[in-house]
């Protein structure tokens, strides 16, 4: 069965029509970008940190099998159970089996994009495991049955009344509560008993340190620490690209991560897990799910450097005005647009085109991923793989032919009729029509530059030639 490409443009149009939400979304994320800039200005070594982070990540990816083996050996020594999952299905099966062995029926978890990739909740819930997100934004999204719209601030597209409504429905609180403070307090009250009675806890992992066999989790709410330390069973789901060689490398990444993400110097909690707590069990599931394949893509492997800070989303003028959900994928925004097609080329074929390729994303990326250049390259790949809409392909094909023939081209510019006989009316009109929906067309002019030049320069030159 052929999947349909995500209609980003249509979803974005709907997002823009809701002015209150869109304006807040744009301003909020722009504010994060501004705060990120302030942090950058404080640190004279900012660009050096980016260069180092990029080099460490590229080195690690080029030596990933060795570092994974090193991590595994050290983690095992520390008493961690290490599992390997080729894809989402295997990951879910592994987690399901661990939970089953422990008779665990309730799982509390902190934010993990990998579990979103694997659709883990959808797998575990029919098997009788109640999964509760403990990050506030992620919990709001879970209750609202939506994917996270942003990898760092999952509910950034919602306003206070939206949250009040969702909490009223699920927590029986005041549907007209207009205080973020009080809503956050309701979440704390609702979450505590669930946390205290949970059978198992799950976290992601921002970084994995090969040298020590540890992994590092960064949160602001402390929910990952609660999820990991309250139940006697901690499962961490981590993408295989998250490695760094040495503990001392963490300085570079921690200094960049939260500054890039939220413009705060560090996340409130930076937690280093090196082994199980006394009397507890710890599992790490290393997930591939397409990453080893992506490593072999010459133009795209560096997207694996990503540390999931979301800075590219915050700065992206398209993302800010279309909302994360419009990308129809686990990863949205600029980084999503270059990662998602590796999961499904047809479904996400539209995303590399949901960009003006302005390049701001590349400039803010703390690990120097050339995001906008990869967007450009993806467009080529998708065109070569025939994943462009028919009309666009035809328009470009005809335009390309026309541009190679100056006489025809000149005739087309000078005469609409010739243009229409060259490009069939339905193609040209249907395709270019949207221009005028929210914009005026350029004004017609009396004379093109070409004919002005002919009249004002070539004639003179001819005259000069005659008189000489």
């Amino acid at each position: 069965m052929k999947v349909k490409p995500v209609n980003h443009a249509k979803a974005a149009e709907a997002f823009i029509e809701d002015t209150a939400h869109m304006d807040f979304h744009d301003e909020r994320l722009w504010d994060l970008r501004q705060k990120r800039d302030q942090q950058m200005h404080i640190l004279p070594e900012w660009q050096e940190l980016r260069t180092r982070a990029s080099a460490i990540k590229e080195h690690t990816l080029a030596n990933l099998p060795e570092y994974l083996e090193q991590f595994e050996a050290n983690a095992k020594k520390n008493g961690i159970h290490v599992h390997w999952a080729a894809d989402g299905a295997e990951h879910n099966r592994i987690v399901g089996e661990i939970l089953e062995k422990h008779g665990a029926k309730s799982l509390i978890k902190s934010k993990s994009m990998v579990t979103e990739e694997c659709c883990m909740r959808e797998y575990l819930e029919p098997r009788g495991v109640v999964v509760t997100e403990t990050d506030l934004g992620e919990r709001i999204q879970q209750l609202d049955n939506q994917m996270p719209s942003h990898i760092v601030v999952p509910a950034v597209h919602k306003l206070i009344p939206d949250v009040a409504k969702i909490f009223a429905e699920h927590y029986h609180t005041d549907p007209n509560d207009s205080s973020a403070q009080s809503l956050a307090w309701q979440q704390r009250l609702a979450a505590r008993p669930v946390i205290l009675s949970a059978d198992a806890g799950m976290t992601g992992g921002n970084f994995v340190v090969a040298e020590t066999g540890s992994f590092v989790v960064c949160t602001n709410e402390g929910n990952a620490d609660l999820s990991a330390t309250v139940p006697g069973l901690h499962i961490a789901t981590i993408g295989i690209e998250r490695l760094v060689p040495r503990m001392a490398d963490m300085g570079v990444f921690i200094r960049l991560l939260s500054r890039s993400a939220l413009g705060s110097p560090i996340t409130q909690y930076t937690t280093h897990f090196r082994g199980p707590q006394k009397g507890s069990e710890m599992h790490v599931v290393l997930v591939d799910n397409g990453r080893s394949h992506r490593l072999g893509m010459e133009d795209f492997w560096t997207s694996l450097k990503c540390i999931r800070c979301g800075a590219c989303m915050n700065t992206c003028p398209v993302y800010r005005r279309s909302g994360g959900l419009s990308y129809g994928a686990v990863y949205s925004g600029p980084i999503g647009a270059i990662i998602d097609p590796t999961f499904n080329e047809r479904k996400y074929s539209t995303l590399p085109f949901a960009s003006t390729m302005n390049g701001s994303c590349t400039n803010v990326c703390p690990v120097k991923i050339n995001i906008h250049e990869q967007l450009y390259k993806w467009r080529r790949v998708l065109a070569e793989h025939h994943e462009l809409p028919f009309v666009k392909r035809e328009v470009m094909h005809m335009a390309g032919k026309l541009m190679g023939q100056p006489t025809l081209y000149r005739a087309a510019i000078n005469s609409t009729e010739v243009a229409l006989s060259t490009m069939p009316r339905f193609v040209l009109y249907n395709w270019l029509n949207p221009w005028g929906k929210h914009r005026e067309l350029p004004h017609p002019v009396k004379q093109t530059f070409h004919s002005w030049y002919k009249q004002n320069r070539l004639k003179n030159k001819k005259k000069e030639g005659e008189s000489a």
Binding site: A55, A62, P65, G137, V156, K158, N223, P265, T270, D288
Partner: protein
Amino acid sequence: MSTSRDAILTRLRDNRPDPKAHPLPPVARLGDMDNGQARFENSLQILGGQVLERQEGDTLATAIARRFPDSKVICSAVPDFAGTIRIEELGTPQQAASVDVLVVRSPFGIAEMGSIYLSEVQLHDLNSAAHLTQHIVVILSAKNLTANMHTAYMDRPEFHTANYGVLMSGPSATADIQGVLIRGAQGVRTLSVWWED
């Protein structure tokens, strides 16, 4: 079980870029090397933490009583402060959830971030206590401040020895509801540092 492991590693070996083209850079020791108390306090304040006020004649107990007048359960994880209960007496996270104020000593702080470090050593193997308590008071010596994240990771042995090690930088926080910054989300509602020198 091991088939996926081997398949993943093989695929990585087949697909990776040339390792020789990507050497490992030396460890970075960059940035401001000021490890002073003033820098720490400034960073702590930015992240929403505070210094526990010390008035004339104060002991830690009187300072806590003034700062947290309504607190009933004050749990001590240090030998030189009594509290109303000792952390060793809390057997489970469920019991730790009743604590109003936890008093604990941090082996080091990071001036750049205003972060304090805690591991299972300081928390007597009840790591959840640091997050289930309503408030946390952290005893810290200015002598144990390190300048920044680079010096912390390079110089502090704890990152290589502790099974659980958390850098707390101010209290739990969130801005997930319409961007409103809220201190005290899921974990501690306040974090105070008590200078012991």
